[in-house]
């Protein structure tokens, strides 16, 4: 990449971001009040202590979700080059799926999916 295109990229970047900020100060209706500069808490003052105990089930579900979410990251690049890689890669990804599925089965068997 030559230096001209780099400079152009820089200028366009500055104008895009800067323009957006300037644009947004003119266009929307503005209202100033003390609540707006408060700590973000959905606009409502907190009631009681915030040191609550959360149901541990939330974490289990989050982890299970995360596993299958991250799985997408692995599958997408494989899908792009599936034809070139051929059979070996297909078997590899199949094994990967099976192991993940076993993990879900394990969580199921251990009653991690029951919400109490």
């Amino acid at each position: 990449m030559s230096s001209e295109s780099l400079i152009l990229f820089f200028i366009v970047g500055v104008f895009l971001v800067g323009g957006a900020i300037v644009f947004s100060t003119f266009v929307p209706p503005s209202s100033v009040n003390p609540n707006k500069s408060d700590t973000y808490e959905c606009g409502i003052p907190t009631k009681g202590l915030s040191w609550l105990q959360f149901n541990v089930g939330y974490y289990l579900f989050a982890i299970l979700f995360l596993i299958f979410d991250v799985e997408t990251v692995f599958i997408f690049p494989w899908a792009v080059v599936m034809k070139q890689l051929g059979m070996v890669a297909f078997i590899e990804i199949l094994i990967f799926f099976v192991i993940l599925g076993l993990g879900l089965l394990y969580a199921w068997k251990k009653h991690a999916l029951i919400w109490e």
């Binding site: 070996v88 192991i99 076993l102 089965l105 394990y106 068997k109």
Partner: protein, 474 residues
């Protein structure tokens, strides 16, 4: 890439396979059949250990990211032996009511750490190395907190995960600087391009610090005693032997290959840290009353001794390190095995004063512990003597006389505290010593393997010669 190439990774693949088998067994069996998981896991692990010794092809995979050489295969086999002994020793502990419902998890987590260690040892670039390192440390933190109703166990778990996160962060910072200055993460490219510019020296210091945390070298040892004390005995033994062994293996490989250009510099750093590690580990070990803490500090000072072989840096030094780890596995697991058996049978008695007069009530266990401590101290005719002897030879060969003097002095100091439990068992009189109990079959088998290892590895010079022939090909 063909399917046959996967044969190079057979250690990792076999371990993955048995992990999946255990997982399937856990999912698809009823509660009353779960008793079978313990013997199943042990037998599978034994098979993997034996298969590991069969001759195998060597080569590289994934464009050099994965390297299988004879020496690295030998290291993996040694770790497999250690893990197998830990499996056998923990069988009777896992039978207790508290642990009934999490037996397979113990094996699964241990096997995953072992897979991580194997990948780490076979790594040919920093990414694979880091991946293996993380896989080897994170599950072990879960294991340290295995004892759900013990505060100390939770403390050990949280301390271990914090300290491994910290050390991994430092390590990654060092690796990123190495990549920044060299432009590659592959070991062979880094080793050629690595120089001694200030930034590269700094990157090495960060890398060294990260590894020093893992091996618990003074002054990065502070987590060791708390974690070793809090974790269940069998996890502690795994942590002190197999985890440490794996870190030492890959560290020594990387020092003599990747960082060979700055060998003069890291030898100075290692010289000082080795001397401090041996001395401080010894001095702290003298003051301990809890046997797990005692062995924690003893393992710190042993790490100092192991560094002697790395400083030697020759083929003899490498062979001495690998051989010493092999001996250390048998001796330390022997000691931990006895402590675990006594702790399980007596309801958690782990203090040295509890061992008063143990020889009268449990002579076999006392003799095993004595033999293991003799081996750790390096008293002939047990294997520990030969291990230390080769380490000292490796240093003497390169003319590090002062370091050798310090090491020999430390060996003499260590004799004192290694003999303290022996004195308690044989000489001290106690009104109520731990009553006689009968160990079950698994414990016996585990201890017999350790004793046999301590004696045979010492006398069979074939083993050392064999390791030495391998170390030329690193």
């Amino acid at each position: 890439m063909r399917l046959e190439d996967f044969l190079l990774m057979r250690h990792e693949l076999l371990l993955t396979l048995i992990a999946i088998i255990i997982l399937i067994a856990e999912i698809f069996t009823d509660d009353f059949k779960k008793q079978g998981i313990r013997p199943l896991s042990i037998i599978l692990m034994a098979i993997v250990t034996i298969v590991g010794f069969l001759p195998a092809p060597t080569g590289t995979l994934f464009g050099g990211m994965y390297q299988a050489t004879d020496m690295r295969l030998m290291m993996k086999n040694i770790l497999n032996i250690g893990a197998l002994i830990v499996f056998i020793q923990s069988a009777s502990w896992l039978k207790s009511d508290d642990n009934q419902n999490k037996v397979s998890e113990f094996f699964l987590l241990l096997i995953s750490t072992l897979i991580g260690m194997n990948f780490m040892i076979s790594s040919g670039d920093f990414l694979m190395f880091y991946l293996g390192l993380e896989l080897a440390t994170i599950p072990i933190a879960a294991l340290a907190a295995y004892d759900r109703y013990s505060n100390k166990s939770s403390e050990a778990g949280i301390k271990l995960i914090l300290i491994s996160a910290l050390s991994s962060g430092i390590l990654l910072y060092g690796i990123s600087m190495i990549y920044g200055t060299v432009g590659s993460v592959y070991f062979d490219k880094v080793s050629v391009a690595y120089g001694a510019t200030p930034l590269q020296i700094m990157s090495f210091i960060f890398f060294f610090t990260g590894m020093a945390f893992k091996i618990s070298i003074v002054p990065f040892h502070l987590w060791t005693a708390d974690v070793y004390e809090g974790a269940p005995v069998n996890v502690t033994s795994y942590l002190s032997v197999v985890s440490k062994g794996a870190a030492v293996f890959i560290f020594s490989i990387m020092l003599v290959t990747v960082f060979q250009n700055i060998a003069a510099m890291w030898k100075d750093v290692m010289w000082i840290t080795a001397a401090i590690t041996m001395t401080l580990g010894n001095l702290f070990a003298m003051r301990q009353n809890n046997l797990k803490r005692f062995l924690a500090f003893s393992s710190i000072s042993q790490a100092g001794f192991i560094m002697l072989g790395i400083i030697g840096g020759s083929e003899l030094g490498m062979a001495a390190v690998v051989y010493y780890i092999l001996v250390y596995i048998f001796s330390n697991l022997g000691a931990f095995g006895v402590i675990a058996a006594i702790s399980n049978a007596s309801g958690g008695k782990e203090n040295m004063s509890d061992y008063d007069g143990l020889y009268k009530t449990n002579p076999a266990l006392s003799l095993t512990l004595t033999l293991a401590l003799f081996s750790l101290a390096g008293i002939p005719p047990v294997a520990g003597f030969f291990g230390k002897f080769f380490l000292f030879t490796a240093v003497a060969e390169k003319g590090y006389w002062w370091l050798l003097t310090i090491a020999v002095l430390n060996t003499i100091i260590s004799l004192y505290y290694y003999l303290l439990p022996v004195k308690a068992m044989f000489i001290n009189k106690a009104e109520t010593s731990i009553a006689y109990f009968k160990s079950d079959g698994w414990t016996k088998v585990g201890l017999i393997i350790c004793v046999a290892g301590m004696v045979i590895v010492g006398f069979a010079s074939v083993i050392f010669e064999y390791i030495r022939t391998l170390s030329f090909g690193l």
